[in-house]
Protein backbone atom coordinates (compact mmCIF):
# COMPACT_ATOMS: atom_id res chain seq x y z
CA UNK A 1 0.00 0.00 0.00
CA UNK A 2 2.85 2.39 1.05
CA UNK A 3 4.80 1.47 -2.10
CA UNK A 4 1.72 2.10 -4.21
CA UNK A 5 1.17 5.56 -2.68
CA UNK A 6 4.84 6.46 -3.27
CA UNK A 7 4.44 5.54 -6.93
CA UNK A 8 1.31 7.75 -7.14
CA UNK A 9 3.18 10.66 -5.51
CA UNK A 10 6.10 10.24 -7.91
CA UNK A 11 3.74 10.18 -10.90
CA UNK A 12 1.91 13.28 -9.68
CA UNK A 13 5.16 15.14 -9.07
CA UNK A 14 6.38 14.19 -12.56
CA UNK A 15 3.09 15.35 -14.09
CA UNK A 16 3.23 18.63 -12.13
CA UNK A 17 6.85 19.17 -13.12
CA UNK A 18 5.95 18.47 -16.74
CA UNK A 19 3.14 21.03 -16.75
CA UNK A 20 5.29 23.56 -14.89
CA UNK A 21 7.91 23.03 -17.59
CA UNK A 22 5.27 23.51 -20.28
CA UNK A 23 4.23 26.81 -18.66
CA UNK A 24 7.89 27.73 -18.24
CA UNK A 25 8.59 26.91 -21.87
CA UNK A 26 5.75 29.16 -23.03
CA UNK A 27 6.94 32.08 -20.89
CA UNK A 28 10.55 31.49 -22.01
CA UNK A 29 9.40 31.51 -25.63
CA UNK A 30 7.70 34.88 -25.08
CA UNK A 31 10.88 36.23 -23.49
CA UNK A 32 13.15 34.81 -26.20
CA UNK A 33 10.96 36.13 -28.99
CA UNK A 34 10.75 39.58 -27.34
CA UNK A 35 14.53 39.64 -27.01
CA UNK A 36 14.96 38.80 -30.69
CA UNK A 37 12.37 41.41 -31.64
CA UNK A 38 14.14 44.03 -29.50
CA UNK A 39 17.44 43.17 -31.17
CA UNK A 40 15.80 43.56 -34.57
CA UNK A 41 14.36 46.99 -33.61
CA UNK A 42 17.73 48.03 -32.21
CA UNK A 43 19.46 47.10 -35.46
CA UNK A 44 16.74 48.85 -37.47
CA UNK A 45 17.15 51.99 -35.37
CA UNK A 46 20.94 51.91 -35.82
CA UNK A 47 20.54 51.44 -39.56
CA UNK A 48 18.09 54.34 -39.77
CA UNK A 49 20.50 56.54 -37.81
CA UNK A 50 23.36 55.48 -40.09
CA UNK A 51 21.25 56.13 -43.16
CA UNK A 52 20.24 59.59 -41.89
CA UNK A 53 23.87 60.35 -41.13
CA UNK A 54 25.01 59.19 -44.56
CA UNK A 55 22.24 61.21 -46.20
CA UNK A 56 23.25 64.36 -44.34
CA UNK A 57 26.89 63.71 -45.19
CA UNK A 58 26.01 63.31 -48.84
CA UNK A 59 23.95 66.50 -48.83
CA UNK A 60 26.88 68.30 -47.23
CA UNK A 61 29.35 66.91 -49.77
CA UNK A 62 27.05 67.85 -52.67
CA UNK A 63 26.70 71.35 -51.30
CA UNK A 64 30.45 71.72 -50.79
CA UNK A 65 31.05 70.40 -54.30
CA UNK A 66 28.58 72.95 -55.71
CA UNK A 67 30.29 75.70 -53.75
CA UNK A 68 33.67 74.52 -55.03
CA UNK A 69 32.42 74.68 -58.63
CA UNK A 70 30.89 78.09 -58.00
CA UNK A 71 34.24 79.27 -56.59
CA UNK A 72 36.07 78.04 -59.69
CA UNK A 73 33.48 79.69 -61.93
CA UNK A 74 33.82 82.97 -60.04
CA UNK A 75 37.61 82.87 -60.29
CA UNK A 76 37.94 81.66 -63.88
CA UNK A 77 34.99 83.40 -65.54
CA UNK A 78 33.62 86.38 -63.60
CA UNK A 79 37.10 87.26 -62.25
CA UNK A 80 38.55 87.23 -65.77
CA UNK A 81 35.70 89.35 -67.14
CA UNK A 82 36.16 91.91 -64.37
CA UNK A 83 39.94 91.96 -64.92
CA UNK A 84 39.40 92.55 -68.65
CA UNK A 85 36.92 95.34 -67.87
CA UNK A 86 39.42 96.92 -65.48
CA UNK A 87 42.13 96.70 -68.13
CA UNK A 88 39.84 98.31 -70.75
CA UNK A 89 38.94 101.08 -68.30
CA UNK A 90 42.68 101.67 -67.73
CA UNK A 91 43.23 101.94 -71.48
CA UNK A 92 40.27 104.33 -71.80
CA UNK A 93 41.60 106.44 -68.92
CA UNK A 94 45.00 106.73 -70.60
CA UNK A 95 43.52 107.74 -73.98
CA UNK A 96 41.42 110.56 -72.51
CA UNK A 97 43.19 113.92 -72.08
CA UNK A 98 41.23 114.70 -68.93
CA UNK A 99 39.71 111.52 -67.54
CA UNK A 100 36.72 112.14 -65.26
CA UNK A 101 36.97 111.38 -61.51
CA UNK A 102 34.07 108.91 -61.82
CA UNK A 103 36.17 106.75 -64.15
CA UNK A 104 38.91 106.57 -61.56
CA UNK A 105 36.37 105.69 -58.85
CA UNK A 106 34.86 103.03 -61.11
CA UNK A 107 38.32 101.52 -61.60
CA UNK A 108 38.93 101.46 -57.84
CA UNK A 109 35.53 99.89 -57.19
CA UNK A 110 36.24 97.29 -59.85
CA UNK A 111 39.61 96.51 -58.28
CA UNK A 112 37.86 96.01 -54.93
CA UNK A 113 35.27 93.74 -56.61
CA UNK A 114 38.04 91.62 -58.18
CA UNK A 115 39.78 91.32 -54.81
CA UNK A 116 36.50 90.31 -53.08
CA UNK A 117 35.71 87.75 -55.77
CA UNK A 118 39.20 86.24 -55.43
CA UNK A 119 38.76 86.02 -51.67
CA UNK A 120 35.32 84.48 -52.06
CA UNK A 121 36.57 82.04 -54.67
CA UNK A 122 39.46 81.06 -52.41
CA UNK A 123 37.06 80.42 -49.51
CA UNK A 124 35.03 78.06 -51.72
CA UNK A 125 38.03 76.14 -53.03
CA UNK A 126 38.27 72.44 -52.08
CA UNK A 127 42.05 72.43 -51.51
CA UNK A 128 41.77 75.49 -49.33
CA UNK A 129 38.88 73.83 -47.44
CA UNK A 130 41.10 70.82 -46.69
CA UNK A 131 43.38 73.06 -44.62
CA UNK A 132 40.48 74.89 -43.06
CA UNK A 133 41.01 76.66 -39.75
CA UNK A 134 37.83 77.70 -37.94
CA UNK A 135 39.33 80.42 -35.77
CA UNK A 136 41.19 82.06 -38.66
CA UNK A 137 38.04 82.09 -40.79
CA UNK A 138 35.89 83.37 -37.97
CA UNK A 139 38.29 86.28 -37.56
CA UNK A 140 37.95 87.06 -41.30
CA UNK A 141 34.16 86.73 -41.09
CA UNK A 142 34.01 88.98 -38.01
CA UNK A 143 36.21 91.58 -39.71
CA UNK A 144 33.93 91.48 -42.77
CA UNK A 145 30.79 92.06 -40.67
CA UNK A 146 32.47 94.71 -38.49
CA UNK A 147 33.46 96.64 -41.64
CA UNK A 148 29.75 97.26 -42.24
CA UNK A 149 29.62 99.14 -38.91
CA UNK A 150 26.07 97.98 -38.11
CA UNK A 151 26.80 94.89 -36.06
CA UNK A 152 29.92 94.43 -33.95
CA UNK A 153 31.19 90.85 -33.67
CA UNK A 154 33.67 89.95 -30.93
CA UNK A 155 35.45 86.61 -30.63
CA UNK A 156 36.65 84.80 -27.50
CA UNK A 157 38.59 81.52 -27.59
CA UNK A 158 39.88 79.38 -24.77
CA UNK A 159 42.45 77.98 -27.23
CA UNK A 160 43.38 78.58 -30.88
CA UNK A 161 44.03 74.87 -31.35
CA UNK A 162 40.84 72.93 -32.03
CA UNK A 163 40.77 69.16 -32.05
CA UNK A 164 38.07 68.51 -34.74
CA UNK A 165 39.32 67.80 -38.26
CA UNK A 166 39.02 70.26 -41.17
CA UNK A 167 35.68 68.85 -42.40
CA UNK A 168 34.13 69.19 -38.95
CA UNK A 169 35.52 72.70 -38.61
CA UNK A 170 33.95 73.64 -41.97
CA UNK A 171 30.53 72.49 -40.80
CA UNK A 172 30.99 74.38 -37.54
CA UNK A 173 31.93 77.44 -39.57
CA UNK A 174 28.81 77.06 -41.71
CA UNK A 175 26.68 76.73 -38.55
CA UNK A 176 28.16 79.95 -37.13
CA UNK A 177 27.77 81.66 -40.53
CA UNK A 178 24.10 80.65 -40.60
CA UNK A 179 23.60 81.96 -37.06
CA UNK A 180 25.33 85.24 -37.95
CA UNK A 181 23.21 85.63 -41.08
CA UNK A 182 20.07 85.10 -38.99
CA UNK A 183 21.25 87.75 -36.53
CA UNK A 184 22.04 90.27 -39.30
CA UNK A 185 18.76 89.60 -41.17
CA UNK A 186 16.29 89.35 -38.32
CA UNK A 187 17.71 90.21 -34.89
CA UNK A 188 18.62 93.90 -35.38
CA UNK A 189 21.48 93.32 -32.97
CA UNK A 190 24.33 95.77 -32.43
CA UNK A 191 26.57 93.32 -30.51
CA UNK A 192 27.38 89.68 -31.21
CA UNK A 193 29.73 87.61 -29.11
CA UNK A 194 31.16 84.27 -30.26
CA UNK A 195 32.80 82.21 -27.55
CA UNK A 196 34.55 78.88 -28.18
CA UNK A 197 35.36 76.68 -25.22
CA UNK A 198 37.42 73.51 -25.58
CA UNK A 199 37.00 71.34 -22.54
CA UNK A 200 35.59 67.84 -22.16
CA UNK A 201 33.42 68.85 -25.12
CA UNK A 202 33.60 71.62 -27.67
CA UNK A 203 31.09 74.34 -26.88
CA UNK A 204 30.30 77.39 -28.97
CA UNK A 205 28.15 80.22 -27.59
CA UNK A 206 26.79 82.80 -30.02
CA UNK A 207 25.13 85.59 -28.08
CA UNK A 208 23.45 88.71 -29.45
CA UNK A 209 21.62 91.69 -27.97
CA UNK A 210 18.92 91.71 -30.65
CA UNK A 211 15.15 91.61 -30.45
CA UNK A 212 15.07 87.87 -29.67
CA UNK A 213 12.21 85.49 -30.40
CA UNK A 214 9.91 82.99 -28.79
CA UNK A 215 11.83 79.69 -28.93
CA UNK A 216 8.68 77.62 -28.37
CA UNK A 217 7.03 78.87 -31.55
CA UNK A 218 10.14 79.31 -33.68
CA UNK A 219 12.22 76.19 -32.97
CA UNK A 220 12.21 73.83 -35.91
CA UNK A 221 10.04 76.06 -38.04
CA UNK A 222 12.59 78.40 -39.60
CA UNK A 223 14.86 77.07 -42.34
CA UNK A 224 17.89 78.76 -40.72
CA UNK A 225 17.31 77.16 -37.33
CA UNK A 226 16.58 73.85 -38.98
CA UNK A 227 19.84 74.04 -40.95
CA UNK A 228 21.78 74.75 -37.77
CA UNK A 229 20.15 71.79 -36.04
CA UNK A 230 20.74 69.39 -38.94
CA UNK A 231 24.38 70.35 -39.30
CA UNK A 232 25.01 69.92 -35.57
CA UNK A 233 23.22 66.58 -35.76
CA UNK A 234 25.54 65.55 -38.58
CA UNK A 235 28.46 66.10 -36.23
CA UNK A 236 26.77 64.12 -33.45
CA UNK A 237 26.30 67.31 -31.45
CA UNK A 238 23.37 69.34 -30.20
CA UNK A 239 22.07 72.90 -30.42
CA UNK A 240 20.20 74.87 -27.82
CA UNK A 241 18.42 78.16 -28.50
CA UNK A 242 17.85 80.38 -25.48
CA UNK A 243 15.80 83.45 -26.29
CA UNK A 244 12.71 85.44 -25.50
CA UNK A 245 11.24 88.58 -27.13
CA UNK A 246 13.39 91.73 -26.55
CA UNK A 247 15.94 89.68 -24.59
CA UNK A 248 18.45 88.80 -27.32
CA UNK A 249 19.39 85.27 -28.18
CA UNK A 250 21.97 82.71 -27.23
CA UNK A 251 22.80 79.73 -29.44
CA UNK A 252 24.78 77.00 -27.70
CA UNK A 253 26.39 74.38 -29.93
CA UNK A 254 27.80 71.40 -28.07
CA UNK A 255 29.99 68.89 -29.84
CA UNK A 256 31.52 65.83 -28.19
CA UNK A 257 35.22 65.64 -29.01
CA UNK A 258 36.05 63.35 -31.94
CA UNK A 259 32.70 61.58 -31.59
CA UNK A 260 31.91 61.71 -35.27
CA UNK A 261 34.41 62.25 -38.03
CA UNK A 262 33.21 63.03 -41.51
Amino acid sequence: MAKNSDTVIQTIIIICCFFTLVAGFLVSFVLYFSKRKNKFYQEKKEMEALFAHELLKMQFETREEALNQMGEELHDHIGQLLSSTKMLLGITERTLPQPPETLHTAQETLAQAIQDIRALSRSLNREWLDQFDLIENLEIEAARINAGQITRVTLHFSSRELSPDANTQIILFRIIQEALQNIIRHAEASQVSIEINTGAELQIHITDNGKGFNTASATGSGAGLLNIRRRAQLLGGSVQFISSPQQGCQVIITLPHQKKQL
Binding site: A2, S5, V8, I9, I12, I13, I15, C16, F19, T20, V22, A23, G24, L26, V27, V30, L31, F33, S34, K37, N38, Y41, Q42
Partner: protein, 216 residues
Protein backbone atom coordinates in the same frame (compact mmCIF):
# COMPACT_ATOMS: atom_id res chain seq x y z
CA UNK B 1 0.55 26.05 17.91
CA UNK B 2 -2.35 26.80 15.57
CA UNK B 3 -1.00 30.32 15.01
CA UNK B 4 2.48 29.08 14.03
CA UNK B 5 0.94 26.41 11.80
CA UNK B 6 -1.02 29.07 9.98
CA UNK B 7 1.73 31.68 9.86
CA UNK B 8 4.45 29.31 8.76
CA UNK B 9 2.28 27.68 6.14
CA UNK B 10 4.10 28.14 2.78
CA UNK B 11 0.96 29.60 1.16
CA UNK B 12 0.41 32.15 3.96
CA UNK B 13 4.08 33.13 3.88
CA UNK B 14 3.94 33.65 0.11
CA UNK B 15 0.78 35.75 0.45
CA UNK B 16 2.36 37.79 3.25
CA UNK B 17 5.47 38.42 1.14
CA UNK B 18 3.34 39.69 -1.77
CA UNK B 19 1.22 41.75 0.64
CA UNK B 20 4.32 43.42 2.12
CA UNK B 21 5.57 44.14 -1.43
CA UNK B 22 2.14 45.62 -2.26
CA UNK B 23 2.27 47.76 0.91
CA UNK B 24 5.70 49.12 -0.06
CA UNK B 25 4.51 49.73 -3.62
CA UNK B 26 1.40 51.56 -2.39
CA UNK B 27 3.52 54.16 -0.58
CA UNK B 28 4.27 55.69 -4.01
CA UNK B 29 1.99 57.15 -6.68
CA UNK B 30 1.17 53.84 -8.36
CA UNK B 31 -2.34 54.74 -9.50
CA UNK B 32 -4.53 51.80 -10.39
CA UNK B 33 -2.00 49.34 -8.94
CA UNK B 34 -3.09 50.41 -5.47
CA UNK B 35 -5.96 47.91 -5.89
CA UNK B 36 -3.51 45.01 -5.44
CA UNK B 37 -3.04 46.09 -1.86
CA UNK B 38 -6.79 45.85 -1.20
CA UNK B 39 -7.10 42.56 -3.06
CA UNK B 40 -4.29 40.95 -1.07
CA UNK B 41 -5.69 42.40 2.15
CA UNK B 42 -9.05 40.76 1.40
CA UNK B 43 -7.31 37.48 0.47
CA UNK B 44 -5.34 37.38 3.72
CA UNK B 45 -8.38 38.40 5.78
CA UNK B 46 -10.53 35.67 4.24
CA UNK B 47 -7.89 32.99 4.83
CA UNK B 48 -7.28 34.15 8.41
CA UNK B 49 -11.01 34.26 9.20
CA UNK B 50 -11.58 30.83 7.67
CA UNK B 51 -8.69 29.45 9.71
CA UNK B 52 -9.67 30.94 13.07
CA UNK B 53 -13.46 31.25 13.09
CA UNK B 54 -14.97 27.76 13.59
CA UNK B 55 -18.26 28.65 11.91
CA UNK B 56 -16.48 29.92 8.81
CA UNK B 57 -14.08 26.99 8.88
CA UNK B 58 -17.01 24.59 8.86
CA UNK B 59 -18.46 26.43 5.85
CA UNK B 60 -15.10 27.22 4.22
CA UNK B 61 -16.11 26.00 0.76
CA UNK B 62 -19.00 28.47 0.72
CA UNK B 63 -16.66 31.26 1.88
CA UNK B 64 -14.11 30.37 -0.82
CA UNK B 65 -16.95 30.09 -3.31
CA UNK B 66 -18.01 33.65 -2.48
CA UNK B 67 -14.41 34.80 -2.57
CA UNK B 68 -14.13 33.32 -6.06
CA UNK B 69 -16.42 36.14 -7.25
CA UNK B 70 -13.91 38.69 -5.91
CA UNK B 71 -11.03 36.79 -7.54
CA UNK B 72 -12.74 36.44 -10.90
CA UNK B 73 -13.81 40.10 -10.83
CA UNK B 74 -10.35 41.33 -9.92
CA UNK B 75 -8.55 39.16 -12.46
CA UNK B 76 -11.00 40.26 -15.15
CA UNK B 77 -10.25 43.88 -14.29
CA UNK B 78 -6.54 43.09 -14.55
CA UNK B 79 -6.91 41.67 -18.04
CA UNK B 80 -9.20 44.52 -19.02
CA UNK B 81 -6.37 46.85 -18.01
CA UNK B 82 -3.55 44.83 -19.62
CA UNK B 83 -5.24 43.88 -22.91
CA UNK B 84 -5.29 46.71 -25.36
CA UNK B 85 -7.21 45.52 -28.41
CA UNK B 86 -10.96 45.92 -28.70
CA UNK B 87 -11.43 42.31 -29.87
CA UNK B 88 -9.58 40.85 -26.86
CA UNK B 89 -11.66 43.01 -24.52
CA UNK B 90 -14.83 41.77 -26.20
CA UNK B 91 -13.57 38.21 -25.75
CA UNK B 92 -12.92 38.99 -22.09
CA UNK B 93 -16.53 40.04 -21.56
CA UNK B 94 -17.69 36.94 -23.37
CA UNK B 95 -15.48 34.73 -21.18
CA UNK B 96 -16.73 36.51 -18.08
CA UNK B 97 -20.34 35.86 -19.12
CA UNK B 98 -19.59 32.14 -19.56
CA UNK B 99 -17.94 32.03 -16.14
CA UNK B 100 -20.97 33.68 -14.52
CA UNK B 101 -23.23 31.07 -16.13
CA UNK B 102 -21.01 28.22 -14.86
CA UNK B 103 -20.92 29.82 -11.41
CA UNK B 104 -24.73 30.11 -11.30
CA UNK B 105 -24.95 26.48 -12.38
CA UNK B 106 -22.63 25.43 -9.51
CA UNK B 107 -24.62 27.49 -7.00
CA UNK B 108 -27.91 26.00 -8.18
CA UNK B 109 -26.44 22.51 -7.83
CA UNK B 110 -25.16 23.36 -4.33
CA UNK B 111 -21.58 22.44 -5.33
CA UNK B 112 -19.99 24.93 -2.89
CA UNK B 113 -21.56 23.25 0.14
CA UNK B 114 -19.49 20.09 -0.54
CA UNK B 115 -16.37 21.21 -2.36
CA UNK B 116 -14.48 24.21 -3.76
CA UNK B 117 -11.50 23.08 -5.83
CA UNK B 118 -13.41 20.38 -7.65
CA UNK B 119 -16.23 22.70 -8.72
CA UNK B 120 -16.88 23.48 -12.34
CA UNK B 121 -16.59 27.22 -11.59
CA UNK B 122 -13.03 26.80 -10.20
CA UNK B 123 -12.01 24.82 -13.30
CA UNK B 124 -13.74 27.37 -15.50
CA UNK B 125 -11.84 30.18 -13.79
CA UNK B 126 -8.55 28.32 -14.45
CA UNK B 127 -9.34 27.92 -18.15
CA UNK B 128 -10.46 31.56 -18.31
CA UNK B 129 -7.20 32.82 -16.78
CA UNK B 130 -4.93 30.52 -18.81
CA UNK B 131 -6.71 31.56 -22.02
CA UNK B 132 -6.43 35.29 -21.36
CA UNK B 133 -2.84 34.93 -20.18
CA UNK B 134 -2.06 33.41 -23.59
CA UNK B 135 -3.91 36.28 -25.28
CA UNK B 136 -1.81 38.72 -23.25
CA UNK B 137 1.40 36.94 -24.33
CA UNK B 138 0.23 37.06 -27.94
CA UNK B 139 -0.36 40.79 -27.59
CA UNK B 140 3.13 41.17 -26.12
CA UNK B 141 4.66 39.33 -29.08
CA UNK B 142 2.70 41.40 -31.59
CA UNK B 143 3.59 44.67 -29.87
CA UNK B 144 5.20 47.05 -32.36
CA UNK B 145 8.41 48.50 -31.01
CA UNK B 146 10.86 47.55 -28.33
CA UNK B 147 9.59 46.02 -25.13
CA UNK B 148 11.37 44.31 -22.27
CA UNK B 149 8.83 41.92 -20.67
CA UNK B 150 11.00 41.28 -17.63
CA UNK B 151 10.69 44.95 -16.72
CA UNK B 152 6.94 45.02 -17.30
CA UNK B 153 4.92 44.71 -14.07
CA UNK B 154 1.93 43.45 -16.09
CA UNK B 155 4.04 40.60 -17.50
CA UNK B 156 4.94 39.39 -13.99
CA UNK B 157 1.33 39.61 -12.79
CA UNK B 158 0.07 37.59 -15.76
CA UNK B 159 2.93 35.08 -15.50
CA UNK B 160 2.13 34.47 -11.83
CA UNK B 161 -1.52 33.90 -12.66
CA UNK B 162 -0.66 31.72 -15.64
CA UNK B 163 1.68 29.39 -13.71
CA UNK B 164 -0.68 29.07 -10.76
CA UNK B 165 -3.89 28.42 -12.63
CA UNK B 166 -2.31 26.26 -15.35
CA UNK B 167 -0.66 23.82 -12.95
CA UNK B 168 -3.41 23.87 -10.28
CA UNK B 169 -5.88 22.96 -12.99
CA UNK B 170 -3.83 19.82 -13.66
CA UNK B 171 -3.47 19.07 -9.93
CA UNK B 172 -7.19 19.35 -9.31
CA UNK B 173 -7.90 17.03 -12.21
CA UNK B 174 -6.03 14.37 -10.18
CA UNK B 175 -7.54 15.50 -6.90
CA UNK B 176 -9.57 12.35 -6.23
CA UNK B 177 -6.42 10.23 -6.34
CA UNK B 178 -4.43 12.77 -4.33
CA UNK B 179 -6.93 12.76 -1.48
CA UNK B 180 -6.59 8.98 -1.15
CA UNK B 181 -2.87 9.34 -0.40
CA UNK B 182 -1.88 9.01 3.29
CA UNK B 183 -1.03 12.23 5.15
CA UNK B 184 2.60 11.93 6.35
CA UNK B 185 2.70 15.15 8.38
CA UNK B 186 2.63 17.41 5.33
CA UNK B 187 0.24 16.38 2.59
CA UNK B 188 1.52 16.30 -1.00
CA UNK B 189 -1.24 18.76 -2.03
CA UNK B 190 -0.05 21.25 0.60
CA UNK B 191 3.54 20.98 -0.68
CA UNK B 192 2.53 21.38 -4.32
CA UNK B 193 0.21 24.29 -3.54
CA UNK B 194 2.95 25.88 -1.43
CA UNK B 195 5.43 25.73 -4.33
CA UNK B 196 2.86 27.07 -6.79
CA UNK B 197 1.82 29.85 -4.45
CA UNK B 198 5.44 30.87 -4.00
CA UNK B 199 5.80 31.07 -7.79
CA UNK B 200 2.52 33.00 -8.03
CA UNK B 201 3.12 35.53 -5.25
CA UNK B 202 6.84 35.72 -6.07
CA UNK B 203 5.88 36.90 -9.56
CA UNK B 204 3.44 39.40 -8.10
CA UNK B 205 6.02 40.72 -5.62
CA UNK B 206 8.42 41.20 -8.56
CA UNK B 207 5.67 43.05 -10.45
CA UNK B 208 5.10 45.36 -7.47
CA UNK B 209 8.84 46.01 -7.20
CA UNK B 210 9.06 46.99 -10.88
CA UNK B 211 5.99 49.17 -10.57
CA UNK B 212 7.54 50.92 -7.57
CA UNK B 213 10.81 51.44 -9.48
CA UNK B 214 8.94 52.82 -12.51
CA UNK B 215 6.98 55.35 -10.46
CA UNK B 216 9.88 56.47 -8.29
Amino acid sequence: MAITNFLFNPTTLAELTAFIAACIMSTGKVGWWQNFFFYLLITLSVETCVHYIPFLHANRYIVFGLFMIVQAGFFSLLFLKFLSTRSSKQMLFFGMAIFVLIYIYDVSKGSFTKDYYGTLARKGLSVYIVLFSCIYYRQLLRHAGEISPLREPAFWVVTGLFFNYFVTFVIFQMRDRLLLLPDKGLHIVTILMGVLNWIFYGCWATAFTWRKIQTR
